[in-house]
């Protein structure tokens, strides 16, 4: 019983952080048809914002503000300097963003060194849930990511600018002919996607090993989530992340991390075979 509760809490932790990364990735892909291989490094940079804040002896919470701001700026710069030149060149965009990914990772190694940084937990005390003692900070992660993911959904489904972005995703030339500035939306959406990954990295930093390789650990499951959930709707991201992170944690807990990887990849292949457009795609 105790281990089950702990397990469920751990699983939702991972799932929710993954959801933030996946949402950014899916929005960028949906809008610009760019598979952003550097998305894991946006997560990575977010985590290193925490290192910066810690080295500056500022309270951890500043990092949760700094990370999205820094990553939005990084996103804007990357979009302006590189991405916009490879729109509508699908393979080139994969190559270009992969290059960005390598460059960002190397910059982190140059600045902070290749070794793992330790982050002091901002809420060190545990709390009692039913019969288990659980780190309070992990509960904070859950609350924070739920609110942020909820806000992202509200932004996309309840605001005018969200409607415009969904319109551009659905039919870019038509949206442009209705007067919608697609260029502006590309730019801001890329920044929003990067900021989401950054804030996810920052909030997860205290419970992860913060090292230059941590980005890829989120990029791959995020991709698998999109493959499983489909790119058609943001809801696909929720279904996909739930399926991928659920399977990963269950199998990793029962057997081992290696088996978990095998099972997750096999599952992704089967889902792609059965639902080429993803589980949430509208069947017309």
């Amino acid at each position: 019983m105790e281990s089950l509760i702990t397990f469920l809490l751990d699983a939702s932790n991972f799932a929710l952080a993954l959801l933030l990364v996946t949402l950014g990735l899916i929005i960028i892909y949906g809008l610009m048809n760019v598979i952003n291989m550097a998305h894991g490094e946006f997560f990575l940079l977010g985590a290193y914002c925490v290192v910066l804040i810690q080295n500056a002896r500022l309270p951890f919470w500043c990092a949760l503000l700094l990370a999205p701001v820094v990553l939005a700026l990084v996103g804007l710069a990357v979009e302006e300097l590189i991405i916009r030149h490879v729109y509508r060149r699908f393979i080139d965009s994969i190559l270009a963003t992969w290059g960005i990914s390598l460059a960002l990772k190397q910059i982190v190694i140059i600045v902070f060194g290749p070794t793992a940084q330790s982050i002091v937990s901002p809420i060190p005390s545990p709390v009692q849930i039913l019969t288990v003692t659980y780190p309070a900070y992990r509960l904070f992660i859950m609350g924070f990511t739920v609110v942020l993911a909820g806000a992202t959904f509200l932004f996309f489904y309840r605001t005018r600018i969200g409607l415009a972005i969904r319109g551009v995703i659905a039919n870019r030339p038509m949206a442009a002919s209705l007067g919608i500035n697609t260029r502006f939306l590309d730019r801001s959406t890329f920044a929003i996607g990067a900021a989401l990954a950054g804030v996810a990295g920052a909030v997860m930093a205290p419970i992860m090993s913060v090292d230059p390789q941590m980005g890829v650990g989120f990029l791959i499951p995020a991709f698998l989530s999109i493959l499983v959930g489909g790119t058609g709707t943001l809801l696909g991201a929720v279904v996909g992340t739930a399926a991928i992170s659920g399977t990963t944690t269950i199998v990793a807990n029962t057997w081992s991390q290696v088996v978990a990887q095998i099972v997750v990849f096999t599952m992704a292949i089967i889902v792609i075979r059965l639902f080429p457009q993803g589980i949430m795609a509208r069947r017309s």
Partner: protein
Amino acid sequence: MLKIEGLIAGYQHGSRVLDGVSLNVHRGEIVALMGRNGMGKTTLLRTITGHLFPTGGAISFDGKPIIGRPSHEIANLGIGYVPQGREIFSEFTTEENLLMGVIGKRHLPNRIPNWAYETFPVLRERRLQRAGSMSGGQQQQLAIMRALVGEPKLLLLDEPSEGIQPSIVQEIARTLRRTAQEKQLTVLLVEQNLDLVLGMASRSLFMENGRVVDEAPVEKIRLSSEFVEKYLSV
């Protein structure tokens, strides 16, 4: 209001789907553009709306040259576009589709004006319905209203009668003509349906092989089958 001179454009480099189009549409006029399939009518509209860059010629709207401007700027200058095949956002509700028509316009408030639903009451009934699940005629009314709520000065219509039953075509024609009059709207109507053209336009241009080759007032087209035989029958 819309002045096009010697326009040359095509889809591949060197191809000339438009081979020197020249035409003039005056303020407040409803002008039809007729011709067989493949003569360049849709290509012309796509070039005016900035989706296709011409290799030669000039387009001016309200005295301003518009070639080279992005589509969203052209829309904001006051050119509304109802493309062939309607291109409504099928996953969106009717209301969301209409909102798409106003949120991109700098000078308009971000809400749907009442007259939109008064003009096409069926859109109010289907306000929260997924647009893709409506009939062809309703979708066409939606596509037209989505352009009209943006309060364009010039409306470009591409085959609004395509795939729609004749009774609805007549209704759309009547409503459009009335709305155009009330709003002092200029309309360029690309059509092959003679009834719609006779019911709406004051004159028609005829297009052949990428050029405007002839024009006639609708009274003349109504009386003589010469134009239809020459430019429309296959």
